[in-house]
């Protein structure tokens, strides 16, 4: 059958940890710190809006760009929250999560051989999607600068073929984010080389130490920015698959061309629910942020006490500790920990081959679970040290 598969897809590297994922999914009673989504279900008010829209008979297509009232609500939200101005008519596109947004953006922007910079460790889809679109992903390892991209590091990796960069902050898997000042420094380089910045800000509402600054909000940056966000993390709506992309109208129009042929439109029920989410507003998001912030302190403090040194995450709900001390590779560590203690974590190698000394732990899990998981990790380390 292989001969039928397209060469490009055939050459895509299958994820090296697929087998490990299958192992986790086949086990019962696992405490999982491996989950990339909030640990509560969509607030009832939002679910109810979805149900009500069905009762009312909203079961049709929407405009390709998405429900107008949702685009207006997003436009208003961005204005109120950040002072960002995007026109609901031409500069906003509703997508099936940020994932689709990225696929569209990369396909709409890349000519064969264009290079896209990706600070790593990075979310799993950026590299493969860049390749699928005919581009060349250029990973920039940020390990030695505290998982933060610096202007110097950025400058070093730019050449004539560099078209853009994918920034993701707060970052999955490290939880690292950027202050306004740090972003300004990056922006200078990006504008100097007339590059585009694809900015994945899905975890923006979970920023703990400073105010989140959208890349597009930096002076003169808006024309060079494609802003990607969605409802999954802020409103616990991962399964609804609603995201949005904002950018210059020419870029949004180009993306919409692909979107209209592949997706047509995001399911209307999800879009109706998303409208409600923006009305639920701040309170539930603020509560969630406070809760995660406490869990963050708890897990970081425990990990550092266990000698699993961890860069202090400034956002999202991930810790990315070094497991060097265990003398195990990430995959071995994760597999052994799963088998011996029934705790699931994601090996760092999922986010880049060179992160074999790291694992990702999600603290989107109850205090009880975190406490128990860390006790088990402590036992695990003690036992393996003795051997």
């Amino acid at each position: 059958m292989k001969k039928y598969i397209s060469q490009k897809v055939h050459e895509m590297q299958p994820s090296g940890i697929r087998a490990f994922f299958d192992l986790v999914l086949g086990m019962e009673d696992v405490i999982s710190l491996g989950v990339g989504e909030p640990d509560f279900i969509t607030p009832w008010q939002i679910r109810e809006a979805g149900i009500f829209s069905l009762e009312q008979g909203f079961t049709s297509y929407t405009s390709n760009k998405g429900l107008y009232k949702l685009r207006i609500s997003i436009s208003r939200y961005l204005k109120q929250r950040y002072g960002l101005h995007y026109s609901p008519d031409e500069e906003i596109l509703i997508t099936v999560g940020v994932s689709e947004g990225f696929d569209l953006a990369l396909r709409a922007l890349i000519n064969s051989g264009d290079k896209i910079l990706i600070p790593s460790p990075s979310y799993v889809s950026y590299g493969p999607l860049t390749e699928l679109a005919g581009g060349i992903p250029v990973f920039i390892d940020t390990k030695d600068s505290g998982f933060k991209l610096t202007a110097r590091l950025l400058e070093k990796n730019i050449d004539k073929k560099t078209k853009g960069i994918i920034l993701n902050y707060p970052n999955n898997p490290t939880g690292i984010s950027y202050t306004k000042k740090e972003l300004e420094a990056l922006k200078k380089v990006i504008l100097k080389h007339n590059m585009l910045c694809l900015s994945d800000e899905i975890y923006a509402d979970l920023t703990y130490e400073f105010e989140h600054t959208p890349f597009a909000k930096l002076s003169n940056a808006k024309n060079n920015t494609v802003y990607l966000n969605g409802f999954s993390k802020s409103y616990a709506m991962t399964g609804w698959r609603v995201g949005f992309v904002c950018g210059p109208k020419e870029i949004i129009a180009a993306m919409t061309k692909i979107h209209q042929y592949t997706i047509m439109c995001v399911p209307i029920t999800s879009q109706m629910a998303a409208c409600e989410a923006l009305h639920v507003g701040k309170k539930s998001v603020d509560e969630m942020r406070r809760e995660y912030k406490r869990r963050r302190e708890f897990i970081i403090s425990r990990l550092n006490d266990l000698g699993l040194h961890c860069q202090r995450p400034q956002g999202a709900f991930y810790a990315f500790p070094s497991i060097k001390k265990s003398k195990l590779s990430a995959l071995d560590f994760a597999q052994k920990l799963l088998k011996e203690e029934k705790v699931a974590v994601v090996p760092g190698t999922a986010f880049g081959a060179e992160y074999k000394d790291y694992v990702r732990m999600s603290y989107a899990s109850s205090y009880d679970n975190l406490k128990e998981a860390l006790t088990r990790i402590e036992n695990f380390l003690a036992r393996n040290r003795r051997k």
């Binding site: 999982s32 491996g34 989950v35 889809s125 406070r290 406490r294 708890f298 699931a344 999922a350 406490k371």
Partner: protein, 161 residues
């Protein structure tokens, strides 16, 4: 509200050590703060939420909401008579409310008879009680923010990016 209280309200078993980790404080400081709250009566007691619907013997317990109309007294208003009422061990909660009646009680007893007798023999005959309406509870769905069902199973898949 102080975050220490917020944490304890959700989980009374959170140790001061862990609370200190969560809030980046010294465990000793957290311990002292909790002691202070206990002393001030801000923290009254620590208890466990039990779903009695699932316990056979407890399930025969009867609860009733009782609306009570009372005549307020000079100088002390409703407080004195409220105290006389809420001091009965059958009364588990007592609120002064606005509207067509004055006190709302939640009364508990081992059977219907016990609660009925409390109303008929203790509550109604009181001098300042003008009248009562008793509603027996048939089923509990949600109490103090907790939905009384079997624990919802986790629907998230165990591992994802």
């Amino acid at each position: 509200m102080d975050e220490i209280l917020e944490i304890l309200e959700k989980d009374a078993r959170a140790t001061s050590q862990d609370i200190a980790r969560m809030l980046k404080k010294k465990p000793q400081k957290v311990k002292e703060a909790i002691k202070k709250y206990e002393k001030q009566g801000v923290i009254l007691k620590y208890k466990t939420v039990i779903n009695k619907e699932l316990i056979k013997e407890a399930n025969s317990e009867v609860r009733a909401l009782i609306e009570v109309n009372i005549v307020p007294q000079k100088d002390v208003g409703f407080d004195k008579i409220a105290e006389r009422i809420y001091s009965f061990q059958e009364v588990s909660s007592c609120y002064l409310i606005s509207g067509t009646y004055d006190l709302l009680l939640i009364a508990e007893g081992k059977d219907l008879h016990t609660v009925a007798r409390f109303v008929a023999e203790k509550l109604s005959p009181m001098e300042n009680v003008r009248g009562t309406v008793t509603h027996f509870l048939l089923k509990k769905y949600k109490e103090d923010g907790v939905i009384l069902k079997h624990k919802e199973e986790n629907k998230r898949i165990a591992i994802s990016y």
